[in-house]
């Protein structure tokens, strides 16, 4: 049986939020009789990940569920983040943590019958093995798209903005450019183009003048 820490939820939460270096001591991972064992572990949300989330989902510790073998058993977290599965037979099991706002990797847990319920844990997503059963989220989940703040550049960059910009360029700058071109030269190019038979914008522009 895991030691039960008699601490108020508030204090425990606070302790958790400061990423808990103190608790890195050894964990009594498993104990039990010959054929059924107890798996004890802890869920910890590091301050770095916690900082990235909206305050809404954060620290909702009472809504975290730990699931063994796809729903065979469901366990809840104590204020200090510990969870326990009782009467687990030896073998290879799967533990998943479900917390709104966080993504946890499923954990492969081998409970050894030979070593009296010694537990080996591996994260199945990253294939990283854990020395102790402390589960941390891989990332914080953001369920909503963030609205971009109002930005003149964003509007200009949008297709509409680009089209408008292009129009402005054509309407105001093109005539200016045309003015700079020598009319003689223009006529020559026009003729060349006419010979080639390719209609172009420049062939249309002088016509309007």
């Amino acid at each position: 049986m895991a030691p039960i820490l008699r601490s108020t939820p508030l204090v425990a939460l606070l302790v958790l939020q400061i990423s808990l270096l103190f608790f890195a001591s050894t964990l009594p991972i498993s104990s039990g009789s010959e054929d059924s064992y107890t798996i004890t572990g802890r869920v910890r949300i590091p301050a770095i990940i916690l900082a990235g989330t909206a305050i809404g989902h954060a620290a909702k510790f009472s809504n975290i569920k730990v699931v063994l073998n796809g729903g065979q058993n469901i366990s809840f977290l104590r204020p200090d983040g510990y969870f326990t599965f009782h009467k687990v037979p030896a073998g290879t099991h799967l533990i998943e943590v479900y917390a709104l706002g966080f993504f946890f990797s499923p954990v492969r847990v081998d409970v050894s019958a030979r070593h009296h319920g010694k537990v080996q844990a591996t994260l199945t997503e990253t294939r990283r093995s854990l020395t102790e059963l402390v589960l941390e989220p891989l990332r914080a989940d953001q369920y909503y798209e963030l609205r971009e703040p109002f930005n003149v550049m964003a509007i200009l960059k949008s297709p509409m903005g680009l089209m408008v910009g292009f129009m402005v360029v054509v309407v105001f700058l093109m005539p200016k450019l045309m003015e700079n071109i020598d009319p003689e030269e223009m006529k020559r190019t026009q003729e060349e183009l006419r010979n080639q038979g390719v209609p172009s914008l420049s062939s249309l522009l002088p016509a309007s003048r």
Binding site: S62, Q72, Y143
Partner: protein, 982 residues
């Protein structure tokens, strides 16, 4: 120039890349979420202290919740695992909620204000037995009385502070059944009363400090006990003997056992078998005899006397101490449309403390449970509030003759869902009341514009949100052009039908199913399934649509069935009938009669099928198609799938001309030593497929093999049928089959070594996607199988088509041997799954999304493009253009594509999709303990403007352009004039 244009196009295209996400301020715009708890089993009030008054409830959905007594809202709620049923709930130390669950083997304490779990203790259990929880009411807070929990043959004393087991006592002796654990207040002795082989009463006296047996007494009762027991005081219990006709009072004062027999016939004349009811009343017990409830007072020497009798349909509460060692209890019964609630003193039944009559909706049925709580009124008299649970599982709080709040908890146990259209808007009916003036409209759009430019202040944002919620008459009760407004008809376990509006989720109507005959045996049939009976759209436009509810009298599958036809618009039952045969399977046929009633076949246990509706027209339609009706049955335990066809009318046996005999056409037998059927699935019968062919990148055509008669079957090795931890990879294999249900031909077989169930699958068009567990990798996997038709593969040559040398017009028969090939691919998936569904749209043009209900009770929308067997590691340029995603070993879980966003559908059981009229859009309804609805557009709403579209911006742009044109025109006129003057 050309470069620039192409650049522009590129920018335009890249901005059109599909995304499925939601902005936070769009929450509640298209979706709604309703939270429930289920039918209440136990309720404990917490009203002593000042501050929030609450009631702690545990329910049949394994929910423990804290409700606000004032409004019925939830403070907190926890849904325990499916096999973690709650046996008892109580409050300890005034701050912890204690729950005993899993047949008395799990004891948990939750913090009362916020629901955080404080401690959890696993109790030792050796055998299945009843489980009892006893939490001492301690008057002195500083003294720690242990919690007594009995379950699994062991009595545990657990400290309420930290859950530490103080002692445990073994009661697993053979034949011994513990019946009661009693602890007289202010006493250190615990009495454990049990029966040995149902004939010997044994009383143990246990020291509550150490758990040691102080004394043990036993006494044989010759008649034997029947099990039901009622404890009337701390030293007396009353039981029924094995003949159920004699009440035996067992007194065990100071450890001495004495029996006192009282035949029930002495109490009531002409009594039949009696039944002891569960409420705990002090010095009194309630006995059900001759369909009446009698109250029997237990005198000082165990003498019994009848003090009152009530009608059978009375629900009673436990007794509740009211001031000055008086004890009261409440009883509630139905009379017409009213509920009569009475609170009486136990000692003196003539003193009625409270008598109230409350008008109650007929469709709530009878009162099932009553819980009472008292409070002190301002004039120092006692007031009472009663929490009642009705037959339809709803929960109501009654106080001062009125319903303070009610919760429709029946919706926590939805078993089947179907959709229905709303009535068409009639010309005479004006619906335009909600439309406002042009100025208001413009103002609203200006606000929206401000919002989309993020210039809005906080008040503006609130105003926008409110406007959106109310906008566009989304909760109107008429059909709309886009088909966004619809009804979801939900059948609950209590046998109640609810019609929910898609706009805001409100209940449009509800109806409790009634038995047509009102017979004794079947007063309230249990609903099994819902079918669309009549969906008028061509000929019978003036008829109201209706649904068929198939119910059953009793839980046994051979119990007679009941059909009920319900009008969708009004929620009234059109007719109902006792069909006189059992219901094994209901098959909607693809034929309708002239009033658009769909023909249904119902198979019974005797191998006959019955045709409904029973009209001669339906019969003549059916006779025409008689030879073309096939169906199959799956016998999961034996591993056999059988195909059936029609044989003849069973006129020889019965006179019923709507009854038909069947013949067995084929059987598929799976070897029972190596394969066990765990999942079968067919396509949705009403699914629409838009194109038969698929154009691949190299201008090649692939014809989809689209057949309605395909059955997907998944089997595992018998060893692998259990939970994940129970088998090694070598021992388990998963095999999936695609079977044609007309001929029984196995079209495809795919085996996955080292894999096991549970299998969750979805079948749509020509593909199946299924989710299972890979034991070798110890990860979940998703496999897709796509089926293509080989026989038509040569038709891709245009010249063949032109010259008519194609076989497209050749008749397609289910008997012919299909030439088909499959493509499949597997991916890892990082979550357990509860259910999978697929979106469905009106014409089937829009691309599909898989809706994956995860074990975290969220729903993930995954584009079908991710489960496409044509994905390769390095797709060519052409393939990329077609939208083929490079192959990855696992499917992505993008948090923004959770359609439930930051909500959970607790206890998710099923997802239902239904098409809207607008091709791009689909309705999604998920049910479990909670309900969730949203509208999805898998490829974005390409065929309509979104609600967010800023009409104001468009208008302003147009106005500005017109103004600019005018101004430039004036300027150019002036310029021209001045040039001419020059």
């Amino acid at each position: 120039m050309a470069i620039r244009v192409s650049l522009l196009l590129l920018v335009f295209l890249s901005s059109a890349v599909v995304s499925f996400s939601l902005y936070e301020d769009q929450v509640g715009l298209m979706d709604w979420h309703q939270r429930y708890i289920g039918k209440v089993k136990h309720a404990v009030f917490h009203t002593q202290k000042t501050g929030r008054k609450r009631v702690i409830v545990s329910t049949e959905e394994n929910v423990v919740a804290s409700l606000d007594l004032r409004h019925g809202e939830m403070f907190w709620r926890h849904v325990l695992g499916t096999n973690d049923a709650i046996d008892g709930v109580d409050i300890a130390l005034g701050k912890y909620v204690i729950t005993l669950s899993s047949q008395g083997s799990m004891l948990r304490a939750w913090n009362l204000p916020d629901g955080q779990m404080v401690w959890e203790t696993s109790l030792h259990s050796a055998q299945s037995s009843k489980s009892l929880l006893s939490v001492p009411i301690n008057l002195k807070v500083d003294k720690d009385y242990p919690i007594l929990a009995f379950g699994g043959g062991y009595l545990h004393a657990v400290s309420a502070v930290d859950g530490e087991v103080l002692w445990k006592k073994d009661f697993t002796a053979e034949g011994f059944e513990v019946q009661r654990v009693l602890q007289p207040p202010e006493s250190s002795i615990i009495y454990v009363l049990g029966f040995l082989h149902s004939s010997e009463a044994v009383v143990y006296q246990i020291d509550s400090k150490t758990g040691e047996v102080v004394a043990q007494k036993s006494m044989v009762f010759p008649g034997g006990f029947s099990g039901a027991i009622s404890s009337v005081s701390s030293d007396k219990v009353v039981v029924l003997d094995s003949t159920r006709s004699i009440l035996v009072t067992i007194g065990f004062l100071d450890g001495d056992i004495n029996f006192q027999k009282t035949p029930i016939s002495d109490l009531v004349k002409n009594s039949g078998n009696a039944e002891i009811l569960s409420p705990l009343l002090s010095n009194m017990l309630a006995v059900k005899v001759n369909k009446r409830t009698i109250f029997v007072r237990v005198g000082g020497e165990g003498k019994l006397e009848v003090v009152d009798s009530l009608s059978d349909e009375t629900a009673m509460s436990d007794s509740l101490p009211v001031a000055d060692d008086q004890v009261a209890f409440a009883s509630a019964h139905h009379e017409g449309s009213k509920i009569h609630l009475m609170v009486k003193l136990v000692d003196d039944l003539d003193t009625v403390l409270l008598r109230e009559s409350i008008e109650m909706d007929q469709h709530r049925g009878r009162v099932h449970k009553v819980f009472i709580n008292n409070y002190i009124k301002t004039d120092r008299s006692n007031g009472f509030r009663a929490l009642i649970v009705m037959e339809d599982h709803s929960l109501l709080l009654l106080q001062q003759g009125a319903i303070v709040w009610s919760r429709e908890e029946g919706l926590a146990s939805v078993t089947d869902v179907t959709t229905a259209e709303l009535p068409v808007e009639k010309d005479g009916v004006s619906v335009a009341k909600v439309e406002h003036t042009l100025v208001d409209w413009l103002k609203g759009h200006m606000l929206k514009l401000k919002g989309s430019l993020l210039l809005a202040s906080l008040e503006d944002v609130a105003a926008i949100q409110e406007m959106r919620m109310k906008s566009s008459g989304r909760s109107k009760l008429t059909r709309d052009h886009n088909g966004f407004r619809k009804l979801f008809i939900a059948l609950t376990r209590a046998g109640k039908l609810f019609a929910l509006h898609t706009g805001d989720g409100r209940i449009v109507w509800s109806m409790l199913l009634n038995s047509p005959t009102k017979s004794e045996a079947c007063e309230r049939p249990s609903g099994i399934n819902l079918y669309q009976w009549q969906v008028p759209h061509h000929h019978a436009m003036d008829e109201n649509p209706s649904v068929l509810v198939v119910g059953r009298c009793g839980s046994d599958s051979s119990a007679p069935g009941v059909l009920s036809f319900v009008d969708v618009y009004t929620g009234k039952e059109i007719s109902s009938s006792d069909i006189g045969h059992s219901v094994v399977r209901v098959m909607p046929l693809p034929f309708t009669d002239s009033t658009e009633q769909r023909l249904h076949l119902i198979a019974d246990t005797e191998g006959h099928v019955h045709l409904y509706p029973k009209t001669s027209e339906a019969l003549s339609i059916f006779q025409r198609e008689f030879q073309n009706v096939y169906w199959y049955t799956v016998e999961g335990d034996d591993g056999i799938i059988r195909g059936h066809g029609m044989k003849s009318s069973c006129a020889g046996e019965t006179a019923d001309e709507y009854c038909f005999t069947t013949k067995e056409l084929w059987t598929v037998v799976f070897p029972s030593e190596s394969e066990k059927i765990i999942s079968t699935l067919t396509r949705k019968p009403n699914e629409v497929v838009h194109t038969q062919a698929k154009v691949s990148t190299d201008q090649d055509l692939l014809y989809k093999y689209v057949s309605r008669n395909l059955l997907f079957v998944a089997t595992v090795s018998p060893k692998g049928a259990g939970e994940i931890g129970s088998v090694t990879p070598e021992e388990s294999a998963l095999v999936v089959y695609l079977i044609d249900t007309i001929t029984g031909r196995i079209l495809h077989r795919l085996s996955h070594q080292g894999c096991q169930g549970p299998v969750h699958a979805v079948f749509s068009e020509n593909w199946v996607v299924y989710h299972y567990f890979n034991l070798r990798a110890h990860k979940y996997e998703v496999t897709v199988v796509e089926i293509y038709d080989q026989s038509r593969a040569e038709n891709k040559n245009v010249w063949k088509l032109v010259l008519g040398k194609h076989n497209l017009t050749a008749p397609i028969s289910s008997y012919s041997r299909p030439e088909m090939f499959t493509k499949s691919q597997s991916y890892f998936f990082a979550q357990s799954v509860k259910t999978i569904a697929v979106t469905s749209t009106a014409k089937g043009i829009t691309s599909k999304q898989l809706l994956i209900g995860t074990i975290g009770d969220q729903i993930l929308a995954l584009d079908k493009r991710f489960v496409d067997p044509r994905r390769t590691l390095n797709p060519s340029q052409a393939e990329k253009e077609e939208g083929i995603i490079p192959l990855t070993d696992s499917l992505p879980i993008i948090p923004q594509s959770y359609i439930t966003h930051s909500l959970k559908v607790e206890g998710l059981r099923g997802i239902v999709t239904a098409p809207a009229k607008l091709e791009s859009t689909t309705h999604v309804f998920a049910y479990g303990v909670d309900l969730f609805y949203t509208r999805l557009a898998p490829s974005k709403t390409y065929d309509s403007l979104t609600d967010d579209f800023s009409y104001a911006l468009l208008l302003i742009t147009i106005v500005a352009l017109v103004a600019a044109i005018y101004i430039t025109w004036v300027i150019s006129e002036k310029k021209e004039l001045s040039e001419k003057w020059r």
